[in-house]
Symmetry: none
Subunit: 204 residues, 4 copies
């Protein structure tokens, strides 16, 4: 028996059970978050709903905030769509906006994300986690679209990319999250037109 074998001997014990429990917790947590929101959700109710001891939660995450952050982050990540590449700025834009709207429209993610972003002002680690897991990938997708359009000559090379990304993401996010207003296809089409015009003018 080698040392490696000995060390690894019991390392995998209960992987199946662990998986089952983790899934029960995840499901319960999302349900509680949807019903009560982040502030009113309690670890005790999640554990109760999952049919699980509180320790099972704290064995996986060090705190309520850590649990919710990770759950949201992974759910959001797996929902990250492929960057559109239709070959034309207008269609790329519309596709990205539609995808973005569909994600934002998911009431659960939207509501919780808002609470997390709010908390992030007072918690550097949380801010970092949200940036890495949520914000950055989406901004990167937008950046790719814009850069492609510049390469094709559809947008001026002097475009301020960061500002461009803001223009792309912000109006829709505000409408859905803060105003909680409509964002149907007609709205999206008009918005696409407006953003396209804005991008062409957003030069340093």
């Amino acid at each position: 028996m080698t040392v490696e074998q000995k060390k690894g001997r019991a390392a995998t014990g209960g992987a199946v059970l662990r998986q089952r429990v983790t899934e029960a917790i995840t499901e319960a947590a999302f349900a509680e978050l949807a019903e009560a929101g982040y502030a009113r959700m309690s670890m005790e109710s999640v554990a109760r709903r999952a049919g699980v001891g509180k320790a099972a939660l704290y064995r996986r995450w060090p705190s309520k905030q850590a649990m919710v952050t990770e759950l949201i982050g992974s759910r959001v990540s797996e929902a990250l769509p492929p960057t559109p590449a239709t070959g034309a700025l207008h269609t790329d834009l519309r596709e990205l906006l539609a995808t973005f709207r569909d994600q934002l429209a998911h009431p659960l993610l939207a509501r919780i994300a808002a609470a997390l972003f709010a908390e992030a002002s007072h918690d550097g680690a949380l801010a970092e986690g949200l940036h890495t897991g949520v914000t950055a990938p989406r901004r990167e997708a937008a950046r790719t679209i814009l850069q492609d359009a510049i390469d094709r000559g559809e947008l001026p090379p002097e475009l301020d990319l960061d500002l461009g990304i803001d223009l792309l993401i912000a109006p829709l996010a505000f409408r859905v999250l803060v105003i909680q207003g409509r964002s149907d296809d007609e709205y999206l089409e008009t918005l696409t037109n407006a953003i396209e015009a804005a991008l062409k003018a957003a030069v340093r």
Copy 2:
């Protein structure tokens, strides 16, 4: 002492003490909010900091949320600047955006407002309060600017006003609140140009 003086004293006497206490609470609440954020602020620490009993708080507001909402709402309202009316869309826009940025840059209001908007997803009354006290007045200012520009022929009459307002407010809000990025005068100038172009294209 004349009767009038006596009456005058009678009308304001208790009110003076009450006013003093209210001010102490308000100041303490803003300080705690700034240091700890909405979620971590406690009514007990506010009372302690203000040197008053907890009952003094609950005599004025029915709950923590109500207190913070009202405090934020009134502070935000008194900070509402006059709507710019320079006679030209571009300057109106830039002035509004600069004002808006200065308000958002106030770290306290920004952070707390985020937490409150997050909570609003689960609390209709809070949502209503925020809309009336925070959102609506600002959107109205933007609407006025846009309508004036339409009237002057600077913007097409078919402009989707709601979308136009989103375009005006959202990118800056996102940059300051979520991205927490820079928003200096240069950025603002480019943003103004981009928004102006977008508005001209945002027709139904």
Copy 3:
């Protein structure tokens, strides 16, 4: 308004309520101790039984052990009988032993005291508390009886007082607490005779 008046202003708030709550807790704690014993008694069940928040317990005592120690200590203290002074060693002895037996026979105090003495081996503060509140007063009563008997010439002046006290207390305590055997009046009479003989021989 003097400083004293100002300082004392709110110091007495809720004394009546406090008293009521303390009594409810005390009663519930004794009941739980009787039913479950020290180890199995929980602060939560005491609070529930008393119709009281857990904080009400922890506002009064810093821990479960402190609460039980104090409750037992005070109950035992108030049960401390006057030292017998019949003028004769034999009757003093019998009276003291009878009193002692009656206290020990109280099933609650006996059982809990045993658990506390056991814990005391590992907790200096607890040991100190038990000595001061429980052990010392009883030993003092015994010492008085013995000294009186020496003064009257019923016992030799060379009597080892500490040993004498052991002889007086220990056999009965063991019978009741450890053996849990009978200790009726007949037994007590024989025991009194035996102890009296022992005391006369317990010289250094």
Copy 4:
């Protein structure tokens, strides 16, 4: 390797391992008991200290209490000295008391025994176990000495044996366990004299 060797290993191999594990647990348990006492000792720390899994403990004993009871019981039994038979009550007594003191002075057994006797008030099985394993054998030794002395005419035939045993055991036990006072040879000599006198008077 021959078949016999293989078979022999098969037959004893498991037993040897089991024995080694049992010893490691026993040693760890006594160490933890000594350091923390019964209440604060945890099965988890015992397992960790012994370098074994918790299941190894629960495969051997059904509960923490059962484990400690059995461990203490067997240790105490193997420490049971031969009943003294010097041919004279005084020397028998002194020898028994000295042995008893030496056993009680063992800090581990003493402290744990106290906690177990306390728990026994609420647990009949534990009480039974302690009586059989700890109390009864020692009382029997004392009984033998007393009966021998009666047979030799050193003690009256009317002696209440149970009371006699109490007189023998209790004062020393109290001194060592509860008072935690000194019990040197000088004390023991005086005590022996006193008990001898008491025994002669302890008649029904």
